[in-house]
């Protein structure tokens, strides 16, 4: 910082002075690039190490000095993960739960978002404020009574129990309402003049216009559900209902705590789908943050 503090006053003529400024700018730029690349290594390095190590035999993962590139490539870790442990089951559970939660939020949040943005009904303000307030309530406050409720409904350790508390999340309402407010009323009014009922307007006019917001909501909801940990940890009591993070966490602190290769390949299986979705659709993430100020 002190180095760049001494900026020369640019009052001097555009001769030699200009070239030293440019020279210093180039040095600053090189330093900046170096810092950024180093930072990128620190952030992305663990992911690379994880991915590469998952293809190494156990002994090589533990070798000192460490190797980056696997000396021996092996698929044993992945074979064990899918054949010896029930990772196909956990993977399926994660997909089923995330898909159901996403569909639920797309439907329920756009319905309520539309009502809040475009329809006048008694209690509208109250509904909005209560839903908004729920954004602040942490899962830690909810999970004990939610568990009692789900247990009393006989839904502990079922897909329904895993999914139900997350079908209608406040974040989606907020997102959809914000987006729907930007749709001109005239458009809806025109459809009403044409005699279309509210349901028809919603399905045929509003929803098609909402595609960008729905895409953002779908991606963010899917990822949140995919990464969700506390609730499935509490509700899934037998291994056949574990989601991927629950299985990975419990194995990594339980019977497989020393199986590096196995657990690293497990982490790859948890991260890879998210990574692909993120890299392909990353502009939706940035938009999600931009619209709402948070994830």
């Amino acid at each position: 910082m002190a180095v760049t503090d001494t900026a020369a006053p640019p009052s001097a003529g555009p001769g030699a002075g200009g070239s030293t400024v440019r020279g210093r700018d180039r040095t600053a730029k090189i330093i900046l690039y170096a810092i950024l690349v180093l930072g990128l290594l620190v952030v992305v390095g663990p992911f690379l190490w994880m991915a590469l190590s998952s293809f190494k035999p156990e002994a090589e993962i533990r070798a000192s000095p460490p190797t980056w590139w696997p000396r021996t490539w092996t698929f044993t870790n992945y074979r064990d993960l899918f054949a010896r442990l029930d990772f196909p089951v956990y993977f399926t559970n994660s997909v089923v739960v995330a898909v159901l939660v996403t569909l639920g939020n797309l439907l329920f949040c756009s319905l309520l978002g539309y009502a809040l943005a475009k329809l006048d009904f008694p209690g509208r303000r109250a509904v909005f404020l209560v839903v908004l307030g729920m954004l602040m309530v942490p899962g830690m406050v909810l999970f004990v009574p939610q568990f009692v409720l789900i247990s009393n409904m006989g839904l502990a350790n079922t897909y329904a129990g895993l999914v139900l508390p997350f079908l209608a999340g406040p974040f989606g309402v907020f997102l959809m309402r914000q987006f729907l407010l930007s749709i001109p009323d005239d458009l809806l009014e025109a459809a009403r003049v044409d005699g279309a009922g509210e349901w028809r307007i919603f399905w045929q006019v509003v929803l098609p216009l909402c595609r960008p917001a729905l895409a953002t909501l779908a991606i963010l909801t899917f990822l949140t559900s995919w990464n969700n940990f506390l609730w499935p940890l509490v509700v899934a009591t037998t291994a056949d209902k574990y989601t991927l993070p629950v299985a990975l966490a419990l194995f990594s602190i339980g019977q497989h705590r020393a199986d590096y290769g196995l657990m690293l390949s497990g982490a790859v299986v948890v991260i890879l789908p998210v990574l692909i979705v993120f890299l392909v659709l990353q502009r939706h993430f940035m938009r999600g943050i931009a619209t709402t100020g948070l994830k």
């Binding site: 910082m1 760049t4 503090d5 900026a7 640019p10 900046l32 950024l36 930072g39 952030v43 992305v44 663990p46 190490w49 533990r62 000192s64 000095p65 460490p66 329920f108 949040c109 309520l112 539309y114 009502a115 329809l119 009904f121 008694p122 509208r124 509904v127 209560v130 839903v131 602040m136 942490p138 830690m140 406050v141 909810l142 004990v144 009574p145 568990f147 508390p165 079908l167 003049v193 005699g195 509210e198 045929q204 990464n227 940990f229 506390l230 993070p245 990975l248 990594s252 602190i253 590096y260 690293l264 948890v270 990574l275 993120f278 890299l279 990353q282 940035m286 943050i289 948070l294 994830k295």
Partner: protein, 310 residues
């Protein structure tokens, strides 16, 4: 559904005042009802029930026998504040917030400024890279980091050994376990604030910096007297947003240390989870409400600070 063409009926249009309006009110509830019902049952009810639970001695064994639950007033709360483990977890959690939030914001601010300083070419690449940990599962990341920090086989200590330093047993030592978790948490989370800071930085007019350069202000000086004051609200938002997240830290100690060694990484959330696991539902609910109050207090503080200066 398939027909997009809308039938015209001018008769309906003419009558679109009294009765239609009233019908539309009910239509509004028709749209709102599915969400509201699910929301009331699975979110709003639990918020209230949690408070109710916290005033009783409800245990896991009472699930089948609700009549045996007794109201015990504030006993759970008084017990909490004489529970050495809870107090320990509260201190640990406060440390995570007090150290972790500034650390995260400083890294995020540095990264955002670096990416904003006229280096357009690779900005998207760096932004995606730095944001990557935010979208990945904390559990998976925690598993990876536990291995990275392993004293024998871990990459970190192996690299230190290459330069002749004997690294500590990061997660196995009471003095390094919590700092290790905090650094990892900052590593994972700074991307969110970086993206938000970057957006805010791009909203600052370039002419301000040009004028400051003409006045002979250096980069650090410009940052201090232009960037920071203009980003005050964003930084404050970031502090609260990040702080609320860190108050709930759970997965990291669960996977990496199981709260150890000697409870040095036990967080409030982890303590709540453990109490739930022991079947002490009322006690867990009380602890969760204390956490809730802390979160609300942090948000209120933000609003007050924002209002004071603006």
């Amino acid at each position: 559904m398939a027909t997009v063409a809308l039938p015209r009926s001018p008769a309906k249009h003419a009558a679109a005042t009294g009765p239609t309006r009233r019908r539309r009110r009910w239509t509004g509830w028709g749209f709102a009802a599915p969400f509201v019902i699910l929301f009331l049952v699975f979110s709003a009810l639990p918020v209230v029930a949690s408070l109710g639970f916290s005033l009783t001695d409800i245990r896991s064994t009472d699930l089948r026998n609700p009549l045996s639950v007794n109201v015990i007033g504030l006993d759970n709360y008084t017990r909490l504040f004489s529970d050495a483990l809870f107090l320990r977890s509260a201190v640990n959690t406060v440390v995570v917030v007090v150290v972790g939030v500034p650390l995260t914001l400083i890294i995020a601010m540095a990264a955002a400024n670096a990416l904003n300083s006229g280096l357009i070419r690779l900005r998207a690449l760096f932004r995606v890279g730095f944001y990557l940990p935010v979208v990945t599962s904390i559990v998976a990341i925690a598993v990876v980091w536990r291995f990275l920090l392993d004293p024998q086989a871990g990459l970190v200590d192996n690299l230190l050994r290459l330069v002749g330093i004997q690294g500590p047993n990061w997660l196995g030592d009471t003095s390094t376990a919590l700092p290790s978790l905090i650094v990892m948490t900052a590593w994972r989370n700074f991307g969110t604030m970086m993206v938000i800071f970057l957006a805010a930085l791009q909203g600052i007019p370039a002419t301000l910096y040009e004028a400051a350069t003409l006045d002979g202000a250096g980069r650090w000086q410009q940052f201090r007297s232009i960037t920071l004051p203009l980003l005050r609200a964003t930084v404050l938002f970031g502090a609260v947003y990040t702080g609320i997240g860190y108050l709930q830290v759970f997965e990291e100690p669960f996977v990496m240390t199981q709260g150890g060694p000697l409870n040095s990484t036990l967080s409030v959330s982890y303590h709540i989870y453990n109490q739930f696991g022991f079947g002490n539902y009322g006690y867990a609910a009380a602890a969760s409400y204390v956490l809730f109050v802390a979160i609300v207090a942090l948000s209120v503080l933000q609003f007050r600070l924002l209002r004071e200066r603006d």
